[in-house]
Symmetry: C2
Subunit: 508 residues, 2 copies
């Protein structure tokens, strides 16, 4: 899928122009960074690196692709296509922040260096791969933060995804950002993401009566016991529940005084929780454990609380251990905001199934615009990045330096300057320093390179990094911007460059 | 990519439950339809059928997939997996409206019939494939309608797409909906979509001086003449332009009185149009034709008009035929609304490059929710659909009938009823009748089926159908809803079913 042809045509046109001018082998570099955090937040999670590295590792334009390019660029000389056929990424270098890291605007996520014609051909695919992945991962992380650590987050987005691959990517990056499972079987197989599912309303309505259940026997998990008529066992439990004092009005007997208040409520609950309880109790008799219920409409906060009450009452009344801990899943068009609202109301939901809105939110946010500019290699412009940690263990500031500057040292004062605002600067004495850009593709195969970690490891990094942020940076409401700075030397260089390139007005 | 595992886990769980209950071979049917048109419009273009049919044609769960399913459904009996291994879609029937058709809410786009367990496994992939495709195609068609027939529409969405496949699908369905070309080379190769591209700002800035141009010779297209120093030829033209009366202030000499007004304008124009003109004129000397310019920032309406003036002046002054018809492309974050605004202001843009917002608009629109409900085959619920055309050639109304009803006849009065509102009904005397649902997958391979047309043919259908709609249905502002109706018989049946399924309150 991600072939070198997954590219804007003009990248090939420009590669040709470089080649024609004899400039195609000149070294060039581009940084991939963004200007604003998405979702109104003050942080972003970096996703997509693994796919970028796999892309360059396999970068090769085959004969069939060459002949297609030839057909769409009929005015290019043959020798250019001979050149295209030879290129690969063995003389390209990629430095990147580890995938799953918390990252901030202006800081390069990737630094790509190599022959200008080759680097030009990497630009569009990299932007494509990183943009969507980072938005999805960030969105997922935001859901995780608002849901809290103890809740299960399930991704149910396949139906509403932007095509097949959109669905698979959604599952992958939601998991990376802190979701626990997906309903998407293909994503489960490809990435080892845990799978979850329930059943649809259509399934419920496809059974018209108990007579349709042909095989009524149920064996216990260990095979030692057989219930010959599981349907009767369920019906038996249903009667018991009906005659339980606390359940009058919920389990079939209508209760005059509650009728008005419960009409809408009962429409959902009547066909849901009571039948579920009867089946779950019968299963319990046979040594099985029912997993839980899913609420898909109505007032989720209220229903989850009422459901929990019933489960707890059953645990007490019929001495069924853990029946009160039955998992309650909610899945009605949830998003970050509705999760937040549920938290404020109070609820008894254990797991959230999130689908419809997951990908909608993403695309309202084109502002995480990745910027890139292939330009000549200029040493002072090649940057290294350090994250400086304070006394309390929180990261304080990211600082960019030229690659040729000495790195900052622990316990040594360093001046951090705002990249554009002359008056904003601060001395920092870091207690710990993390070098952010690592070499993931060294060009020279003898050099060491960072391992590409598993999806599970990347997910752990993401959750760990989020937990280490100072809470006000990652809170939903009015988060504090995290500081991004440059060294004094880099500041001077940037401003020299800026002045030399800025147009000067002329007054006559 | 689109394997049978691209599915919600619960579809497999339900297939298991059907199998376990011995119901898996019972015939079931589902209609795929939507409830509301997207983008605040009153029409939708149906996309994704081709991919659905290819999906069922290749539907087969292989051994590796079976063993994965076994691992995630450890409690299912072995015989179920043996059954899964055997299934294909040879006993499934798919009727559908031709892809690229203008379609309306409540009308089934596809009717899928087959063994319930198999049909259940088709539901999620079909929704995934049709939802995104139809949104993209509809969005593209809306852009086409607002841009007008004569303008070029270019899709530049790859960088902002939701992953690699999202980009390829965007190119495909934008073309289907009436775009003319894409920048995405892979999509060009896969679907034969015309390719277009320009160059980036980075390319411009990578050349520091004329000295960097090593090879200054240019041959004429037929090879008969050689210009040894094309750079001098361009510089020569630049001087001539500078000394042209009408271009003072634009071509290098600053004009006091215009300075204030043109400061921002000149910043763009100075480095753009004048240099372009000099190169284009030099190319013209050598027998080449320059194609045009791209405006990517600033006031597109104003700049395009000023640019056109310059091109026309050059055509006149230097007698260069067609120089005034130079193609002006605009590409600065365009969407339906900005196109509409440009039209209102007046402009000289010939082509629009649309990228960033193309996919954003899509995902603000989750309301094109596809609905589906696998249920028992019930003859009266299997519907046929007819589009009835009036005297002026416009479609008047779509009518759904039971498949067993006689079809409507030309020039014969038929009662069309609103599906839910008892009082809304009208007699229609159709002048032409189109049967909308065609058989694309007959199950029985001996039966005839509709051909899957090429992307180009589907695009033609889309543009033709749009041009045949009564204009008030497709206009941007306050469009008139198109009428969708049911036959008298189907109305009665629906309401019988409705009453029999609706809960009845009980008062004691």
């Amino acid at each position: 899928m991600v072939s070198p042809l997954l590219n804007d045509l003009y990248q090939f046109s420009m590669a040709y122009a470089y080649w024609k001018a004899g400039k195609h082998k000149e070294r060039a570099v581009f940084d991939l960074f963004f200007r604003r955090n998405p979702f109104g937040g003050e942080y972003t999670i970096f996703g997509g690196l693994d796919e970028c590295i796999r892309f360059i590792a396999n970068f090769k334009i085959d004969d069939e692709q060459i002949s297609f390019l030839r057909s769409v660029m009929p005015n290019c000389e043959n020798a250019f296509f001979d050149y295209l056929r030879t290129i690969d990424c063995c003389d390209v270098e990629v430095y990147a922040i580890p995938e799953g890291s918390v990252v901030f605007p202006k800081i390069p996520l990737l630094r790509v260096e190599g022959p200008v014609a080759v680097v030009q051909l990497l630009e569009t695919p990299f932007v494509n791969l990183v943009n969507f992945a980072s938005l999805l991962t960030t969105n997922a992380a935001r859901h995780r933060l608002v849901a809290g650590k103890s809740k299960l987050l399930l991704e149910f987005g396949l139906r509403r995804a932007q095509g097949p691959d959109g669905g698979i990517s959604a599952s992958k990056y939601c998991y990376m950002g802190g979701f626990d499972a997906t309903s998407n079987v293909a994503a489960g197989r490809l990435f080892g993401i845990p799978l979850r599912g329930t059943h649809s309303h259509a399934f419920v309505s496809s059974f018209m009566s108990m007579d349709e259940i042909v095989d009524k026997t149920l064996k216990s998990p260990d095979g030692s016991r057989t219930c010959e008529d599981f349907v009767s066992l369920v019906q038996n439990w249903f009667s018991k529940l009906q005659w339980t004092d606390k359940f009058r009005g919920i389990f079939g007997e209508t209760n005059q005084s509650e009728l008005a208040a419960f009409i809408s409520y009962a429409l959902v609950m009547k066909s849901g929780i009571p039948n579920f309880c009867a089946v779950a109790l019968a299963l319990n008799d046979m040594g099985y454990k029912a997993r839980g219920i899913r609420l898909d409409s109505g007032d989720l906060a209220y229903q989850s609380i009422e459901g929990r009450k019933i489960f707890c009452e059953i645990e007490k009344k019929f001495s069924v251990p853990d029946f009160g801990k039955m998992i309650i899943t909610a899945s009605n068009d949830l998003n970050e905001e509705t999760l937040d609202a549920l938290n404020k109301q109070g609820h008894e939901v254990d797991a959230f199934g999130i689908g419809t809105y997951l990908l909608v939110e993403i695309s309202k946010q084109p502002r995480m615009k990745l910027s890139e500019d292939v330009s000549k290699v200029s040493i002072p412009c090649k940057k290294q990045i350090y994250r400086l940690y304070g006394r309390e263990g929180y990261p304080l500031v990211d600082i960019m330096t030229g690659v040729n500057e000495p790195p900052p040292k622990v316990a040594e004062r360093i001046l951090c300057r705002h990249p554009f605002n002359e008056s904003k600067r601060a001395y920092v004495v870091p207690q710990r320093i993390e070098e952010l850009l690592k070499c993931y593709w060294p060009g020279d195969s003898h050099k060491t390179r960072e391992e590409l970690p598993s999806l599970q490891k990347i997910r752990e990094r993401c959750l760990l990094q989020l937990s280490q942020m100072r809470p006000d940076h990652v809170r939903r409401l009015n988060p504090t911007p995290y500081k991004v700075s440059v060294s004094a030397k880099l500041y001077d260089f940037i401003h020299f460059l800026w002045l030399s390139e800025a147009p000067v007005g002329e007054l006559q």
